[in-house]
Protein backbone atom coordinates (compact mmCIF):
# COMPACT_ATOMS: atom_id res chain seq x y z
CA UNK A 1 0.00 0.00 0.00
CA UNK A 2 2.81 2.37 0.87
CA UNK A 3 4.43 1.47 -2.42
CA UNK A 4 1.29 2.42 -4.35
CA UNK A 5 0.93 5.75 -2.56
CA UNK A 6 4.53 6.69 -3.24
CA UNK A 7 4.06 5.82 -6.93
CA UNK A 8 0.93 7.98 -7.26
CA UNK A 9 2.21 10.93 -5.27
CA UNK A 10 3.42 13.59 -7.77
CA UNK A 11 5.72 15.01 -5.13
CA UNK A 12 7.55 11.71 -4.63
CA UNK A 13 11.25 11.81 -5.20
CA UNK A 14 11.52 15.61 -5.23
CA UNK A 15 13.84 16.91 -2.54
CA UNK A 16 12.17 19.26 -0.09
CA UNK A 17 14.15 22.33 -1.13
CA UNK A 18 12.90 21.94 -4.68
CA UNK A 19 9.30 21.87 -3.52
CA UNK A 20 9.98 25.03 -1.55
CA UNK A 21 11.52 26.56 -4.65
CA UNK A 22 8.43 25.73 -6.72
CA UNK A 23 6.23 27.36 -4.10
CA UNK A 24 8.35 30.51 -4.24
CA UNK A 25 8.11 30.43 -8.05
CA UNK A 26 4.35 30.21 -7.82
CA UNK A 27 4.34 33.14 -5.41
CA UNK A 28 6.49 35.15 -7.84
CA UNK A 29 4.12 34.47 -10.74
CA UNK A 30 1.07 35.46 -8.70
CA UNK A 31 2.61 38.64 -7.34
CA UNK A 32 3.91 39.69 -10.79
CA UNK A 33 0.41 39.27 -12.22
CA UNK A 34 -0.97 41.31 -9.33
CA UNK A 35 1.60 44.05 -9.90
CA UNK A 36 0.74 44.28 -13.60
CA UNK A 37 -2.97 44.49 -12.74
CA UNK A 38 -2.45 47.24 -10.16
CA UNK A 39 -0.20 49.17 -12.54
CA UNK A 40 -2.89 48.98 -15.20
CA UNK A 41 -5.43 50.37 -12.73
CA UNK A 42 -3.22 53.39 -12.00
CA UNK A 43 -2.26 53.92 -15.66
CA UNK A 44 -5.80 53.83 -16.95
CA UNK A 45 -7.41 55.71 -14.09
CA UNK A 46 -10.25 53.23 -13.94
CA UNK A 47 -10.94 50.93 -11.02
CA UNK A 48 -11.44 48.05 -13.40
CA UNK A 49 -9.39 48.61 -16.54
CA UNK A 50 -10.14 45.32 -18.26
CA UNK A 51 -13.65 43.99 -18.58
CA UNK A 52 -15.24 41.18 -20.52
CA UNK A 53 -18.43 41.87 -22.42
CA UNK A 54 -21.20 39.77 -20.89
CA UNK A 55 -24.24 40.46 -23.04
CA UNK A 56 -25.10 40.91 -26.67
CA UNK A 57 -26.73 44.29 -26.18
CA UNK A 58 -23.91 46.07 -28.02
CA UNK A 59 -23.96 43.89 -31.12
CA UNK A 60 -22.61 44.08 -33.72
CA UNK A 61 -19.87 46.19 -32.17
CA UNK A 62 -19.11 43.93 -29.22
CA UNK A 63 -20.25 40.44 -28.41
CA UNK A 64 -20.05 38.11 -25.41
CA UNK A 65 -16.46 37.22 -24.71
CA UNK A 66 -14.82 40.32 -26.12
CA UNK A 67 -12.22 42.07 -24.02
CA UNK A 68 -12.40 45.82 -23.42
CA UNK A 69 -9.73 48.16 -22.13
CA UNK A 70 -11.17 51.06 -20.17
CA UNK A 71 -9.69 54.40 -19.39
CA UNK A 72 -11.18 57.02 -17.19
CA UNK A 73 -9.80 60.50 -17.08
CA UNK A 74 -11.51 62.59 -14.42
CA UNK A 75 -10.64 65.74 -16.28
CA UNK A 76 -11.74 64.88 -19.81
CA UNK A 77 -15.44 65.48 -20.34
CA UNK A 78 -17.95 62.74 -21.01
CA UNK A 79 -19.70 63.19 -24.34
CA UNK A 80 -22.45 61.44 -26.25
CA UNK A 81 -21.51 58.52 -28.47
CA UNK A 82 -18.82 57.31 -26.12
CA UNK A 83 -19.07 53.72 -25.02
CA UNK A 84 -18.98 53.53 -21.25
CA UNK A 85 -19.15 50.88 -18.56
CA UNK A 86 -21.40 51.75 -15.66
CA UNK A 87 -22.71 50.13 -12.52
CA UNK A 88 -26.07 50.80 -10.91
CA UNK A 89 -26.50 50.76 -7.14
CA UNK A 90 -27.82 47.46 -6.01
CA UNK A 91 -26.89 45.66 -9.22
CA UNK A 92 -23.60 43.84 -9.27
CA UNK A 93 -23.05 43.44 -12.96
CA UNK A 94 -21.50 46.35 -14.85
CA UNK A 95 -23.13 47.25 -18.15
CA UNK A 96 -21.38 48.30 -21.36
CA UNK A 97 -23.54 50.73 -23.34
CA UNK A 98 -23.26 53.92 -25.35
CA UNK A 99 -23.96 57.39 -23.99
CA UNK A 100 -27.04 58.74 -25.73
CA UNK A 101 -27.66 62.08 -24.02
CA UNK A 102 -25.45 64.26 -21.87
CA UNK A 103 -26.26 67.36 -19.81
CA UNK A 104 -23.31 68.91 -18.02
CA UNK A 105 -23.40 72.04 -15.88
CA UNK A 106 -20.60 74.43 -15.02
CA UNK A 107 -19.84 72.60 -11.77
CA UNK A 108 -19.15 69.40 -13.66
CA UNK A 109 -22.32 67.58 -12.60
CA UNK A 110 -23.69 65.27 -15.22
CA UNK A 111 -27.02 63.85 -16.26
CA UNK A 112 -26.38 60.89 -18.54
CA UNK A 113 -28.70 58.65 -20.51
CA UNK A 114 -27.36 55.47 -22.08
CA UNK A 115 -28.56 52.94 -24.62
CA UNK A 116 -27.27 49.66 -25.96
CA UNK A 117 -26.78 49.62 -29.73
CA UNK A 118 -28.73 46.42 -30.04
CA UNK A 119 -31.61 47.55 -27.82
CA UNK A 120 -34.61 49.36 -29.21
CA UNK A 121 -35.13 51.62 -26.19
CA UNK A 122 -32.83 53.55 -23.92
CA UNK A 123 -31.63 52.21 -20.58
CA UNK A 124 -34.14 53.94 -18.30
CA UNK A 125 -35.80 50.59 -17.62
CA UNK A 126 -32.45 49.28 -16.40
CA UNK A 127 -31.87 52.09 -13.95
CA UNK A 128 -33.30 51.91 -10.47
CA UNK A 129 -36.90 52.85 -9.87
CA UNK A 130 -37.31 56.64 -9.95
CA UNK A 131 -33.80 57.02 -11.34
CA UNK A 132 -33.99 59.02 -14.58
CA UNK A 133 -30.29 59.58 -15.19
CA UNK A 134 -26.85 58.28 -14.53
CA UNK A 135 -24.32 60.56 -12.89
CA UNK A 136 -20.57 60.53 -13.22
CA UNK A 137 -20.28 58.33 -10.12
CA UNK A 138 -21.99 55.48 -11.88
CA UNK A 139 -19.42 55.36 -14.65
CA UNK A 140 -16.52 52.97 -14.14
CA UNK A 141 -14.73 53.79 -17.34
CA UNK A 142 -14.80 54.63 -21.01
CA UNK A 143 -13.92 52.06 -23.67
CA UNK A 144 -10.51 52.84 -25.15
CA UNK A 145 -9.47 49.60 -26.83
CA UNK A 146 -10.96 46.29 -27.79
CA UNK A 147 -9.86 42.71 -28.44
CA UNK A 148 -12.30 40.12 -29.81
CA UNK A 149 -12.96 36.68 -28.32
CA UNK A 150 -10.13 36.79 -25.76
CA UNK A 151 -12.45 37.01 -22.78
CA UNK A 152 -14.43 33.89 -23.65
CA UNK A 153 -12.56 31.95 -21.00
CA UNK A 154 -13.90 34.11 -18.18
CA UNK A 155 -17.44 33.62 -19.43
CA UNK A 156 -17.04 29.87 -19.47
CA UNK A 157 -15.55 30.02 -15.99
CA UNK A 158 -18.44 32.16 -14.84
CA UNK A 159 -21.09 29.85 -16.17
CA UNK A 160 -19.38 26.80 -14.74
CA UNK A 161 -17.75 27.87 -11.47
CA UNK A 162 -16.71 24.33 -10.64
CA UNK A 163 -14.56 24.40 -13.75
CA UNK A 164 -12.72 27.42 -12.38
CA UNK A 165 -11.92 25.69 -9.09
CA UNK A 166 -10.88 22.53 -10.89
CA UNK A 167 -8.56 24.43 -13.23
CA UNK A 168 -6.89 26.32 -10.38
CA UNK A 169 -6.31 23.11 -8.44
CA UNK A 170 -4.93 21.28 -11.47
CA UNK A 171 -2.67 24.16 -12.50
CA UNK A 172 -1.29 24.54 -8.98
CA UNK A 173 -0.51 20.84 -8.79
CA UNK A 174 1.20 20.92 -12.16
CA UNK A 175 3.33 23.95 -11.31
CA UNK A 176 4.31 22.55 -7.92
CA UNK A 177 5.23 19.11 -9.16
CA UNK A 178 7.06 19.84 -12.41
CA UNK A 179 10.52 18.40 -12.32
CA UNK A 180 12.76 20.73 -14.31
Amino acid sequence: MNDLVSKLNPFNGIPKYQVAQQIVNLGLIVSTALMIWKFLIIFSGSESPIVVVLSGSMRPAFDRGDLLYLDYDEKSPLRSGEIVVFKIEGKEIPIVHRVLNVHENAAGDYLILTKGDNNTVDDRSLYNKDQRWLTRDHIIGRVGGYLPYVGMITIVMHDYPNLKILMIVVLTLIVLSTRE
Partner: protein, 171 residues
Protein backbone atom coordinates in the same frame (compact mmCIF):
# COMPACT_ATOMS: atom_id res chain seq x y z
CA UNK B 1 10.44 18.75 -27.92
CA UNK B 2 10.50 15.10 -27.20
CA UNK B 3 6.79 14.50 -26.81
CA UNK B 4 3.88 15.23 -29.10
CA UNK B 5 2.05 17.34 -26.51
CA UNK B 6 5.11 19.50 -25.94
CA UNK B 7 5.59 20.06 -29.65
CA UNK B 8 1.89 20.86 -30.12
CA UNK B 9 2.06 23.34 -27.24
CA UNK B 10 5.10 25.11 -28.66
CA UNK B 11 3.77 25.25 -32.23
CA UNK B 12 0.34 26.54 -31.26
CA UNK B 13 1.87 29.12 -28.94
CA UNK B 14 4.13 30.28 -31.73
CA UNK B 15 1.18 30.56 -34.09
CA UNK B 16 -0.62 32.63 -31.48
CA UNK B 17 2.36 34.92 -31.03
CA UNK B 18 2.69 35.49 -34.79
CA UNK B 19 -1.06 36.22 -34.98
CA UNK B 20 -0.71 38.77 -32.20
CA UNK B 21 2.30 40.29 -33.99
CA UNK B 22 0.34 40.59 -37.22
CA UNK B 23 -2.58 42.22 -35.40
CA UNK B 24 -0.14 44.68 -33.84
CA UNK B 25 1.30 45.57 -37.26
CA UNK B 26 -2.29 46.05 -38.33
CA UNK B 27 -2.97 48.51 -35.55
CA UNK B 28 0.27 50.37 -36.24
CA UNK B 29 -0.61 50.75 -39.93
CA UNK B 30 -3.79 52.63 -39.14
CA UNK B 31 -2.34 56.17 -39.05
CA UNK B 32 -1.40 55.75 -42.69
CA UNK B 33 -5.00 55.73 -43.80
CA UNK B 34 -6.79 58.94 -44.77
CA UNK B 35 -9.30 60.12 -42.27
CA UNK B 36 -10.97 63.24 -43.61
CA UNK B 37 -14.69 63.16 -44.12
CA UNK B 38 -16.97 65.84 -45.46
CA UNK B 39 -20.59 65.88 -44.62
CA UNK B 40 -23.65 67.70 -45.83
CA UNK B 41 -26.04 68.01 -42.95
CA UNK B 42 -29.14 70.11 -42.59
CA UNK B 43 -32.42 70.34 -40.75
CA UNK B 44 -35.30 69.25 -42.91
CA UNK B 45 -38.31 70.00 -40.73
CA UNK B 46 -39.50 70.48 -37.16
CA UNK B 47 -42.83 68.65 -36.89
CA UNK B 48 -43.17 68.62 -33.11
CA UNK B 49 -42.15 71.07 -30.46
CA UNK B 50 -44.00 71.13 -27.17
CA UNK B 51 -43.79 70.38 -23.51
CA UNK B 52 -44.88 67.37 -21.54
CA UNK B 53 -44.50 65.68 -18.21
CA UNK B 54 -42.07 62.84 -17.71
CA UNK B 55 -41.36 62.53 -13.99
CA UNK B 56 -41.35 66.29 -14.04
CA UNK B 57 -41.90 68.85 -16.77
CA UNK B 58 -39.79 68.55 -19.91
CA UNK B 59 -39.69 70.17 -23.33
CA UNK B 60 -39.35 68.02 -26.38
CA UNK B 61 -38.61 68.64 -30.05
CA UNK B 62 -38.58 66.35 -33.06
CA UNK B 63 -35.75 67.28 -35.40
CA UNK B 64 -35.91 65.74 -38.87
CA UNK B 65 -32.67 65.93 -40.83
CA UNK B 66 -31.14 65.30 -44.24
CA UNK B 67 -27.67 63.78 -44.29
CA UNK B 68 -25.35 63.21 -47.21
CA UNK B 69 -21.81 61.90 -47.03
CA UNK B 70 -19.31 59.40 -48.42
CA UNK B 71 -17.53 57.23 -45.88
CA UNK B 72 -16.02 54.59 -48.16
CA UNK B 73 -12.40 55.51 -47.46
CA UNK B 74 -12.90 54.94 -43.73
CA UNK B 75 -13.23 51.23 -44.36
CA UNK B 76 -9.82 49.62 -44.09
CA UNK B 77 -8.93 46.12 -43.08
CA UNK B 78 -9.00 46.95 -39.42
CA UNK B 79 -12.50 48.40 -39.56
CA UNK B 80 -15.17 46.21 -38.06
CA UNK B 81 -18.01 48.70 -38.27
CA UNK B 82 -18.82 52.40 -38.09
CA UNK B 83 -21.37 53.77 -35.67
CA UNK B 84 -22.85 56.96 -37.09
CA UNK B 85 -24.89 59.39 -35.05
CA UNK B 86 -26.11 62.95 -35.28
CA UNK B 87 -26.08 65.07 -32.15
CA UNK B 88 -28.04 68.20 -31.40
CA UNK B 89 -25.92 70.44 -29.22
CA UNK B 90 -27.13 73.50 -27.35
CA UNK B 91 -26.58 75.47 -24.16
CA UNK B 92 -28.97 76.41 -21.41
CA UNK B 93 -28.56 78.45 -18.26
CA UNK B 94 -28.85 75.37 -16.11
CA UNK B 95 -26.62 73.10 -18.19
CA UNK B 96 -23.74 74.57 -20.18
CA UNK B 97 -23.33 71.49 -22.33
CA UNK B 98 -26.15 69.45 -23.78
CA UNK B 99 -25.64 66.77 -26.39
CA UNK B 100 -28.62 64.78 -27.60
CA UNK B 101 -28.38 61.98 -30.12
CA UNK B 102 -31.27 62.33 -32.53
CA UNK B 103 -30.30 59.71 -35.08
CA UNK B 104 -27.95 56.76 -35.17
CA UNK B 105 -26.99 54.15 -37.73
CA UNK B 106 -24.74 51.11 -37.86
CA UNK B 107 -22.58 50.80 -40.98
CA UNK B 108 -20.97 47.43 -41.53
CA UNK B 109 -20.23 47.21 -45.24
CA UNK B 110 -18.14 49.41 -47.45
CA UNK B 111 -20.79 49.08 -50.15
CA UNK B 112 -23.30 50.90 -47.96
CA UNK B 113 -20.91 53.69 -47.12
CA UNK B 114 -22.34 56.29 -49.49
CA UNK B 115 -25.08 57.90 -47.49
CA UNK B 116 -27.87 59.99 -48.91
CA UNK B 117 -30.71 59.91 -46.45
CA UNK B 118 -33.53 62.34 -46.26
CA UNK B 119 -36.06 63.02 -43.52
CA UNK B 120 -34.31 61.04 -40.85
CA UNK B 121 -35.11 61.12 -37.16
CA UNK B 122 -35.00 58.60 -34.35
CA UNK B 123 -34.98 60.20 -30.94
CA UNK B 124 -36.58 63.37 -29.62
CA UNK B 125 -34.61 66.13 -28.07
CA UNK B 126 -35.83 66.15 -24.47
CA UNK B 127 -34.70 69.00 -22.28
CA UNK B 128 -35.20 68.75 -18.50
CA UNK B 129 -34.27 72.42 -18.09
CA UNK B 130 -37.27 73.62 -20.16
CA UNK B 131 -35.01 75.95 -22.14
CA UNK B 132 -35.47 74.96 -25.77
CA UNK B 133 -37.61 77.88 -26.89
CA UNK B 134 -35.62 80.43 -28.85
CA UNK B 135 -32.45 78.45 -28.29
CA UNK B 136 -29.71 77.92 -30.87
CA UNK B 137 -29.06 74.30 -31.79
CA UNK B 138 -25.98 73.01 -33.58
CA UNK B 139 -26.37 69.72 -35.43
CA UNK B 140 -23.17 67.72 -35.78
CA UNK B 141 -22.34 64.47 -37.50
CA UNK B 142 -20.29 61.97 -35.49
CA UNK B 143 -18.84 58.59 -36.23
CA UNK B 144 -17.29 55.96 -34.02
CA UNK B 145 -14.80 53.56 -35.59
CA UNK B 146 -14.90 50.09 -34.05
CA UNK B 147 -11.77 48.22 -35.18
CA UNK B 148 -11.24 44.49 -35.54
CA UNK B 149 -8.83 45.02 -32.69
CA UNK B 150 -7.24 48.08 -31.17
CA UNK B 151 -8.34 51.55 -30.20
CA UNK B 152 -11.94 52.68 -30.54
CA UNK B 153 -11.97 56.24 -31.90
CA UNK B 154 -14.56 58.98 -32.08
CA UNK B 155 -14.82 61.73 -34.70
CA UNK B 156 -17.01 64.79 -35.18
CA UNK B 157 -17.50 66.65 -38.46
CA UNK B 158 -19.98 68.92 -40.11
CA UNK B 159 -22.19 71.50 -38.57
CA UNK B 160 -25.59 73.03 -39.11
CA UNK B 161 -26.89 75.69 -36.82
CA UNK B 162 -30.46 76.82 -36.53
CA UNK B 163 -32.72 78.48 -34.04
CA UNK B 164 -35.72 76.88 -32.42
CA UNK B 165 -38.96 78.90 -32.55
CA UNK B 166 -39.94 80.98 -29.57
CA UNK B 167 -43.29 79.26 -29.32
CA UNK B 168 -44.38 75.67 -29.25
CA UNK B 169 -45.85 74.11 -32.34
CA UNK B 170 -49.27 72.91 -31.43
CA UNK B 171 -50.12 69.94 -33.61
Amino acid sequence: MYSVTQRANVILCFGGIVLAGVLLLNILSRPFFPNEVTVDLKLSSLPRFNQNTFKGPVEYAQLVVDIQTDLTHLFNWNTKMLFLYITAEYQTDEYQTNEIVIWDYILKEKSDAVINKKQQWEYFVIDPAMSLRNNTVNLRFNYNIIPISGLVTKHKVGSHTFKLPSNYIKA
